[in-house]
């Protein structure tokens, strides 16, 4: 009997060691592109795309270039930051207004509205692009002054992404509202004073995702800036450094820019990871 349990323990140990080996391999695969990126960013040798990973010459020159007056990087960074800031406030507000109304109230057009949004969501988003460009250019919000336009585009239709917030609100007992209403609270007070404080985790999730969105926003940003350097965000700007005409002179700058963009987002993300996981798993189960 003893021998057999020894065998089991040994077997388990082997299984665990295999698992560790696989996990280490996975970690390497997932982390190595970022290490390469970091190494390239510190390489002040040849600025173009080179095969070698290890820097020819170490230095901070690439970063210095980004922050110098020569490059538009700071402008792009600032643009993106402003957009992200407005987007996270605006999108969160829009999504919660929508989610709260659909979750806590029962009215005649509720189902048709939800179906309508579901159907609209099935159209590829780009279809709206040329119309939005025309509308925004009528308002003078394209090209070099694309930032307000992008903010508007980011916020306006964001009510359609109400699903995660609604899923969370649906799990909150109705008795909370009723108790407050018996005490004479208006529906607005119930919303503002009773329910919203309880929604902290999901509010943080929404703020986090909507803040991260604009950093990677590529298609709309490119379409609305239309090549004007002053209106680009980091994604469009850095991508323009990888054009076949630019890549030979700018590749290492791209790497340095990527590092600068990624670091704050990663730090923010790691701090708020818990909330992100909560939102993602909740959203997936509800569908």
């Amino acid at each position: 009997m003893e021998k057999r349990s020894m065998g089991m323990a040994a077997k388990r140990r082997v299984a665990n060691i295999t698992t560790y080996v696989i996990l280490v391999l996975i970690s390497i695969i997932w982390i190595i592109p970022f290490i390469f990126l970091l190494l390239n960013a510190f390489d002040v040798g040849n600025p173009g795309l080179t095969g070698n990973v290890w820097p020819e010459k170490w230095g901070l020159g690439n970063f210095a270039y980004l922050f110098s007056a020569e490059s538009n990087f700071l402008r792009w960074y600032f643009n993106t930051f402003i957009i992200a800031l407005f987007a996270c406030v605006g999108q969160t507000a829009m999504q919660f207004m929508m989610a709260y109304a659909l979750s806590r109230f029962r009215f005649k057009l509720r189902k048709p509205m939800m179906n309508m949004m579901l159907v609209l969501g099935m159209f590829p988003g780009f279809l709206t692009m040329i119309v939005l460009y025309e509308v925004l250019s009528g308002l003078g919000m394209t090209g070099d002054s694309a930032v307000p336009g992008l903010i508007l585009v980011n916020i306006a239709s964001s009510g359609m992404g109400y699903y995660v917030a609604k899923g969370f609100l649906d799990t909150m007992p109705k008795s909370l509202d009723e108790a407050a209403e018996v005490d004479g609270a208006t529906k607005f007070q119930v919303f503002y004073k009773v329910i919203m404080p309880l929604c902290k985790p999901i509010v943080i999730y929404t703020v986090l995702t909507s803040f991260m969105g604009p950093w990677g926003d590529f298609v709309f940003a490119a379409a609305i800036a239309k090549g004007a350097q002053g209106g680009m965000n980091v994604a469009t700007g850095l991508n323009s450094w990888l054009d076949s005409s630019n890549i030979a002179g700018f590749y290492k700058y791209f790497c340095a820019g990527g590092v600068i963009v990624a670091i704050p987002v990663i730090i923010l993300f790691l701090f708020l990871q818990k909330y992100y996981v909560e939102g993602v798993t909740g959203g997936a189960v509800k569908g």
Binding site: N16, I29, W30, M122
Partner: protein, 539 residues
């Protein structure tokens, strides 16, 4: 066909026997095997062997479930049409009855909105109704009427005259279509407000008859934050969606029926006009072998579906495996493993995608490593690569991108699987693999069914991965004519057609097709999915 008994069959000549067999096979055997189903009860179902069970399930699916689904769909549509018809009848009946039975203020409200409200002391409502009417009339006179009148032709005065000079008062098809649609939206909104205004009168008359108090302006203002609070909440988001999503989509659906492209841009070279279903014809004219649009469309559609399938399921199963490895009993540093993977979600996708693209470039790092070990450099994702190579590479890279996300999604759910399920399974002697296929997988599929569906349709429209990694490469000559490549998805092709080629009409057609495919898949799967039918299976 006539069935023969054994004697008469044996009397036939050899050739006739062959013909008989042939006919028998196609007219009797095949229909019996494929198109007929005997509904089995549970006991006789359990008696079948594994393959018979599978066959039965498949047959049941397409012979019973799918027809039932379409029958229900038809019934639903019919009910919808009937409901709509009844609604319209009700609408007109209400208008008529209210007018006949109403007092003079009610009657006046038909022409001058808000009169009834003013007369009954609801100043705020009166002002809003009157304002709506004034704005509407002004809008229609100043601009709306003009655009609405031209919507039929999309403009007649061409921007260039015979000598290619700019014409001063030329029409602008784009504006005519856009503002025409906007005007129609506005008219619908106006009719709704007008109806509301009349309904108010009816309701207030009823309240007066019952000798109750009519809502005052103060009550109305309170309702904004109380009884009607949902309307307050919905107003802004809905307006945003209507203007920034609904309006553009309706516009683009209409563009699919015009010849809006770079030679007819509606502003500076030539107007565009209605062409009916011509654009759809371009994509679906299979008979014409030289039509590269239809040939390309077929290839891209096929690849889009293949891609969506592989991208969804490789990520799903591997993500699940990684989550299980990390969750395994006795594994330490769970948080560290998870954080390492999650970091790749935090990095904006364009950085990781563009960087990985360059790692896999012909003069990139991977090829350097291959050369270091004495191999030949490989074309992974450029125009010289073989299509299969590019497709496999893209799917592999997509695994890299998708696994962390799936790992997060599945970790939470995995922890919810009741542990006693596994315990009793291992007491009964089930090994790890059996536990995975009999407990973990069914449970996960059940819970995440809707998620799988959304990620399938999401992958069909996964613009970033394809556009940033390959840009559609490789581009064979035939496909390059219509600006497509062999790894283009419908969505990236749509993007290239509209943005690079300014072929808006065809882009719009593709958009509609993407919509139809996504909608049909979602509709069917949602109706068949176990989690929407049998909600208590795992409770």
């Amino acid at each position: 066909m006539e069935k023969l008994d054994k004697d008469s069959y044996l009397k036939l000549s050899k050739w006739k026997r062959f013909v008989y067999k042939f006919k028998y096979f196609f007219l009797i055997t095949i229909p019996r095997v494929f198109f007929k189903i005997e509904i089995l009860d549970a006991l006789s179902y359990l008696k079948l062997n594994r393959w018979q069970k599978l066959g039965y399930k498949i047959k049941y699916f397409y012979l019973i479930k799918i027809p039932r689904f379409f029958k229900n769909l038809g019934l639903k549509i019919w009910k919808g049409i009937k409901g709509f018809g009844l609604g319209v009848a009700h609408f007109f009946k209400n208008l008529f009855v209210t007018f006949k039975e109403g007092d003079k203020f009610t009657k006046l409200s038909y022409l001058f909105m808000g009169v009834g409200s003013f007369a009954r002391g609801q100043i705020l409502r009166g002002i809003l109704f009157a304002l709506m009417e004034i704005v509407f009339i002004l809008y229609m006179i100043l601009t709306g009427g003009y655009y609405l009148g031209k919507l039929n032709s999309l403009g007649l005065v061409q921007p260039l005259d015979a000598d290619e000079n700019l014409v001063a008062n030329a029409d602008n098809s784009f504006r005519i279509l856009l503002y025409g649609v906007l005007t129609i939206f506005f008219i619908v909104a106006f009719i709704y407000t007008w109806y509301l205004n009349i309904k108010q009168n009816r309701i207030n008359e009823q309240i007066k008859k019952d000798e109750k108090a009519i809502a005052t302006t103060k009550d109305d203002l309170r309702a904004v934050v109380d009884q009607q609070f949902h309307r307050t909440l919905l107003a802004l988001p809905t307006l945003g969606i209507i203007v920034f999503t609904l309006l553009p989509i309706v516009f683009m659906i209409l563009v699919a029926f015009t010849n809006y492209d770079k030679n007819h841009n509606g502003i500076s070279n030539a107007l565009f006009g209605w062409v009916g279903f011509d654009n759809f014809g371009q994509l679906f004219s299979w008979s014409n072998g030289t039509n590269t649009f239809s040939a390309t469309f077929g290839e891209i559609l096929l690849w889009t579906l293949i891609w969506a399938f592989f991208a969804t399921f490789t990520n799903y199963f591997l993500g699940l495996v990684v989550a299980m490895l990390i969750n395994k009993k006795g594994i330490k540093l769970k948080k560290v493993w998870r954080t390492i993977l999650v970091m790749s979600i935090a990095v904006p996708q364009f950085i990781s995608l563009l960087y990985i693209k360059n790692i896999f470039a012909f003069d990139g790092i991977i090829n350097d490593i291959i050369k270091f070990f004495g191999g030949q450099p490989v074309h992974f994702m450029d125009d010289q690569a073989s299509p299969l190579m590019v497709r496999v590479t893209v799917i592999l890279i997509n695994i890299w991108i998708g696994i962390p996300y799936l790992m997060l999604v599945t970790t939470g759910i995995l922890m919810n699987i009741p542990a006693d399920l596994y315990e009793s399974a291992s007491i009964d002697g089930a090994n790890v693999f059996q536990q995975y296929t009999k407990i973990t997988l069914p449970y996960m599929l059940f819970v995440t069914g809707p998620y799988l569906l959304t990620s399938f349709t999401g992958n069909m429209n996964n613009f970033n991965v394809i556009y940033l990694l390959t840009g559609g490469a490789p581009h064979p000559q035939e496909m390059l004519k219509v600006n497509a490549g062999q790894t283009d998805l419908l969505i990236t092709w749509l993007f290239k057609l509209t943005i690079d080629d300014s072929n808006y009409a065809l882009g719009a057609v593709l958009g509609i097709i993407v919509f139809i495919i996504v909608a049909v898949i979602s509709l069917i799967v949602y109706n068949i999915l176990p989690s929407t039918k049998n909600e208590e299976a795992f409770q």
